[in-house]
Symmetry: none
Subunit: 209 residues, 4 copies
């Protein structure tokens, strides 16, 4: 029976993944999820307490992995920032910690491309921590960039009039990531595009301020 159970569970998860992806959390229908999974509606509730739990089952681990990485990068970033005066980083090679973030995201994408997209772009209305994932990601990138990029610019005597431009840049970059995820489910093409995106966004960035 354990075998059957897992098989049903996976059908539900697969069906839910598709529904959440195409409809978003709020407009996703439990009925449709059950139907597409060829499972009775009530049975979905045997496996998952409610819509939120089902959503959690799909994106929870991806969320945890992502948040952990974010915090880790933030922690290291902060440390680096403290050491900054002794060891300025080149903007050419390191892009201020973005690589770490991106490699985390790419790692997640390999197997959980859609879950990541749902988390970032389809979680509106789910009334839980997940709803803020995209914002958290943007904030984290913003923070890292402020710590590092702004210091670099300051060293180069370049004045940044309104630091909110960094936030906007972060948000735009994350949106770029989302669009790549929307278009490509295949990991390798994602990687190529993300690399291009990083270059376009951050190469020689100091010269554009």
């Amino acid at each position: 029976m354990q075998y059957l159970k897992d098989e049903v569970k996976n059908r539900i998860l697969g069906s839910a993944l598709a529904e959440f992806k195409s409809m978003g959390y709020s407009d996703a229908s439990m009925r449709k999820i059950a139907k597409d999974a060829r499972v009775a509606l009530g049975n979905v509730y045997h496996y998952y307490t409610n819509k939120q739990e089902l959503f959690n089952a799909l994106v929870g681990s991806v969320y945890d992995r992502l948040i952990t990485s974010i915090q880790e990068i933030n922690r290291i970033g902060l440390k680096d920032a403290n050491e900054y005066q002794f060891m300025p980083k080149s903007d050419e090679t390191g892009y201020y910690g973005i690589n770490e973030l991106v490699s985390t995201l790419l790692g997640i994408c390999k197997e959980h491309n859609i879950e990541l997209l749902i988390l970032l772009d389809k979680s509106k209305g789910c009334k839980s921590k997940y709803e803020d994932t995209k914002q958290d990601l943007i904030d984290m990138l913003d923070e890292v960039l402020r710590d590092k990029m702004l210091r670099n610019l300051k060293d180069s005597q370049i004045e940044v009039r309104n630091p909110y431009i960094v936030y906007i840049l972060s948000a735009s970059f994350i949106e770029g990531l989302c669009n790549i995820l929307r278009k490509y489910e295949n990991g390798s093409e994602v990687k190529l595009l993300v690399d291009e995106l990083i270059t376009i966004f951050f190469k020689d960035i100091a010269s554009r301020f």
Copy 2:
């Protein structure tokens, strides 16, 4: 009574603006709009036939203005594209027609910042032309950039592996605009930030491919 009428109308519009902004079209509640406007539910329908009409009253004129500009820019852009072989544009000065688009958006922003944001980011589910505004804007920018930027790059012997990167860039830029709108309701600060955003995105862009 005329005074009262306008006052109530404005309360409804204000309440609706806030509700649509925070909830999006689909999740916005007519009940809540009425309540926040301190007006009986039925009275909202005295002023606006239905939810769609209320939405239309908020964003309709902004939409018309925006679409007109988009079509105008596309028309001119197409003409330029046809003349392209004789007179290549510099990417430094013109930024490929983005300035025209942005000046339109800035004009709208001066007085209808939030309406524009709703149109671009909160219209999902409204089942009308408004629903696609953001996509239309991105597509238009994508088209302009393909026409002009890709030709410039080709002339410079720079090969673009996957032209979808242009679309991603367009979407990211529009997202940047949205974020500026989200943050600043004041027109002049918006203008400064948008100018910075254009520079960061498009200055020397050829060198980053």
Copy 3:
């Protein structure tokens, strides 16, 4: 001011007449009545307490006149019935009291054709005595016919298996009247058609049982 008042009142009544006729009581809209009368909605309620009162103002006198006649005919009919054994009526000339009913109806029609139609056919949902007018009329006709026609038939040795057929005949006849009223607003054509209808229904009726 009295002049104005009557003028407005008449506009309301005229508008209401048209609305009740085309929509029936339940589906008639007070808003439309006010609008068509070029009168503010609230003002309708100055002249008439509510929808029922407005309906009453239109059809009340017609109803009273009709009911009075019905009762009168019933009373006489009953008297005739009691005298019946001494003075049998011919079915050819008298049609069992139908002429009296019809002449009442025709009298009403001359000036209140539409009111009569509304009373008979458009009063559903008004939750008052008016709602049953048609039924009352049918019942009255049924009663008269039972008193007289059935006795005549019995005298002629004709057995009527199920006396309910008399009720059905009455209802059909009244329906015929309603259709004439629906089609013709002009009194003289109504009269001609009603006479034909009486003939078709009641001439030689004994021979058709």
Copy 4:
């Protein structure tokens, strides 16, 4: 569960039948239907998509059967009419095709008396083909009678002043049918009364013009 389902379905249908019969389509309340069926409101929508579908479930098959017959009779009637000059029908035996119509109606009545009544008399406002059933029936009868009866009268040198009298007769007859349906739910009594009604309406009709 299958038992339960049918039982509930029947309760809903029964409750709806009663509500539509007494209130008519427009004034029928889904809440009341649910309540009288001892079922949650939402559950009614589990069985029937909406009010119209519920109405359709009640009267749809009856409507189809009726319309099919009407068209069939019209088709045959037309053929007869074309052959008329060579073979005039007696009004005594055939009653101009009414028998065919009536036998159809009687067949329907045996099991779907109330549904037929609702279709003919309570469908106002349902915004579908059903709304015109009674009118269709009257028109069909009117057409048949004009084709045949009026020709017969003409042959007999009887002049019909206003042919609308035929329409009135048709409508009255249909109303008679409706009244029989209203009174008797039992099929055999219906048949007897309808036969009487036909005789009273159409026997020797030429002599009454």
